[in-house]
């Protein structure tokens, strides 16, 4: 009799364990101050917009989003990851903008079996040999914009292109991506200090090189300063500036303004992409925040939708990491970028578009879609990933 009661208790306990959690906790650590703060702020706003439009829920569970600022410092980012994972016991970690900060921080999540869904940084090592079951990129593989830009430069027939990127992992990845699809001559390949804000020296060299196009990978405040100084030096008259989408997106247009008109860029998303999810997102974002969304905002929004779909698919049992993983991989959500699916390395397969900075019919400076460069494009590292 006693044994039966005990067994019943145990069964009850088990059943209780497998029951749905009463809420889902998200640790959101991002760069929210300093010259690159606009990126993190947009990701956060996009993410929170999606939660709000869902009635404060993700996958049917009340969502608690714990936001903190890594101050653009890897050590701070790591501390905050420790706090989120060990103290707050979050179900998902997300938010990092910069790959160097993310790479320093996410091992904490992995060691504690917490899933990291990246709303931005998606460096090549994590796509290939070091791919990780708990890492999902809801954005775009680091090289992808650069590959698309290289393809565009080849199509356009540029003969001599000057390349500039900061001296860190993502900088090297980006220029490697450009060169993978560019068939012309590289005038020079320059690596600057990460966080450098004065580009006078590099601009003098760009001028002397007489290149016909310049391609930059300079995220955040670096790109804003470079483009302002590029125009101030009078170089925009002689050379075509090509950038990855984030260097001439809405967050850069705000401080730089007219100087950006005519810049070509490449991205997986655009303000005017014609699908129902995107129209709904753009209208809601503008209404909520009084500004147009950037790429980063769209990524934050999509990250929330992805988590939302996964939590719903596991019926709220967010403690079951393996089930949540499978649900995330299925990616059953309607992305604002259009078609989206995960490769076996949990990096996206999606389209990339050519955009140009121009004025829309309301006189606002925006990115207009010019065409599709790649369709269902993955990444170059997936074959090195041992994950099935």
């Amino acid at each position: 009799m006693k044994i039966q009661a005990l067994a019943a208790c145990a069964a009850l306990a088990l059943a209780f364990n497998a029951q749905a959690a009463d809420k889902v906790k998200i640790g959101f650590v991002s760069t929210l101050s300093g010259p690159s703060a606009a990126l993190g702020v947009d990701i956060r706003d996009g993410f929170q917009l999606a939660v709000k439009m869902n009635g404060g829920k993700l996958g049917g569970l009340p969502a608690e989003v714990i936001v903190s600022d890594d101050q653009f410092k890897p050590d701070v980012g790591r501390q905050l990851a420790e706090k989120a994972v060990k103290l707050d016991k979050v179900n998902f970690l997300t938010g990092y903008v910069f790959s160097n900060i993310m790479l320093a921080s996410i091992p904490v999540a992995f060691e504690n079996k917490t899933i990291y869904v990246s709303p931005n940084a998606a460096p090549s090592p994590l796509a290939g040999k070091q791919c990780h079951p708990l890492f999902f990129a809801a954005s775009w593989p680091n090289d992808a914009y650069h590959e698309a830009a290289g393809q565009h430069a080849t199509t356009k027939g540029y003969k001599n292109v000057y390349l500039i990127a900061p001296n860190y992992q993502a900088g090297k990845d980006s220029l490697a991506g450009f060169k993978r699809f560019f068939k012309g001559n590289i005038a020079a390949e320059v690596y600057t200090k990460l966080g450098q804000l004065d580009y006078s020296v590099e601009l003098a060299q760009v001028r002397a090189s007489k290149a016909d196009a310049v391609y930059i990978f300079l995220p955040g405040g670096m790109g804003i300063n470079f483009i302002k100084q590029f125009v101030a030096a009078g170089l925009s008259k002689d050379m075509q500036l090509i950038t990855p989408g984030f260097s001439s997106d809405q967050d850069v247009i705000r401080p730089v303004g007219d100087a950006l008109l005519g810049t070509f860029d490449t991205a997986h998303w655009a303000l005017d992409l014609d699908n129902a999810a995107n129209r709904k997102f753009v209208a809601a974002f503008e209404k909520e925040y009084g500004r147009l969304p950037s790429l980063f905002a769209s990524q934050g929004y999509d990250t929330a939708l992805l988590i939302d779909a996964a939590v719903r698919d596991v019926k709220g049992k967010v403690e079951d990491t393996e089930a949540v993983r499978r649900a995330l991989r299925a990616a059953k959500f309607e992305s604002v970028r259009g078609p989206f699916k995960f490769n076996k390395n949990q990096y996206p397969v999606q389209n990339y578009y050519l955009r140009v900075v121009a004025k829309d019919n309301k006189g606002r400076i925006v990115n207009k879609t010019m065409g599709t460069i790649f369709k269902d494009h993955g990444d170059a590292y997936v074959q090195d990933c041992a994950m099935k």
Binding site: S33, G34, P35, A37, N167, E189, V190, Y191, T192, K193, L197, D198, S200, V201, E202, A204, Q205, R207, A208, G221, N225, K228, Q229, V231, A232, A233, G234, P255
Partner: protein, 301 residues
Amino acid sequence: MIVEQGLNGLQFGLMLFLLAAGLTLVFGIMDMINLAHGSLYMLGAFVAAALVQATGSFAAGVLLAIPATGVLGMLLEVSLFRKLYQRDHLSQVLATFALILIANEAVRLVWGSDAALPMPQALSGPVELLPGLYYPAYRLLIIAVGLLVAVFLFLLINKTKIGMLVRAGASNREMALAMGVNIKTLFTVVFGVGAALCAVAGALLAPLLAVQVGMGENILILAFVVIVIGGIGSVRGAFVGAVLVGMVDTVGRAFLPILFGAFLPPQFASAAGPAIASVSIYLLMAVVLFVRPQGLFPARG
């Protein structure tokens, strides 16, 4: 390109000079290590950003920010630094380091972690100096202001009574004191001038770079390199040192990668060039210290 890079180096050097001049005087005359000098540079930039916004005019905002920061510096001197002169260098370093942290958080509280100071529209384009040689107008303005300030300081120190007292204080403090120089007031004035120079640099560089918390720390290290090279306490040394550091840094970044590219495989050259360029100024400092441990123009014979 060589002319253009020369101008770049000059512009960078002159801005360093504005910082180093104040630092070297405080160090030379008061024998005081002020790590918080960079915080005054940051404060100058934030004050300028706030005033430009309030007045709606770039020139008015910047011109008002200079005396405002000077007064702020004097208040700091009277309230805090005075008590530190008698202490040893370690206490000074600790106290002024604390001041950096306090200043950073105070600025974050008052203005947030960054502020916007847009470039005046009239100066945002290039100017054709020689046929085919374009240079950004705003950078020319910085060079002009930097040279003006250098001339002004030269006259102030070599031709005026205050300058005489400053020179006396720098070369032999005890003797100057014994001769009846009012050291207290002199120190306050010198500190105020140093703070005002910081504001000039901070306000002028703000539209090119970014107004943000922590902007002073990186440039402070360079300012210390400058005064060590130039000789502590010497404004002339600070000028030569600053232009030297500006030039070496620019030339290093511009030409070392090309030089390495000429005789090394490209993947190695692209890694080694930037690396060597970023240590080039410290190499310069090491060489100067080896040949002239007192710096190039020591104030104390």
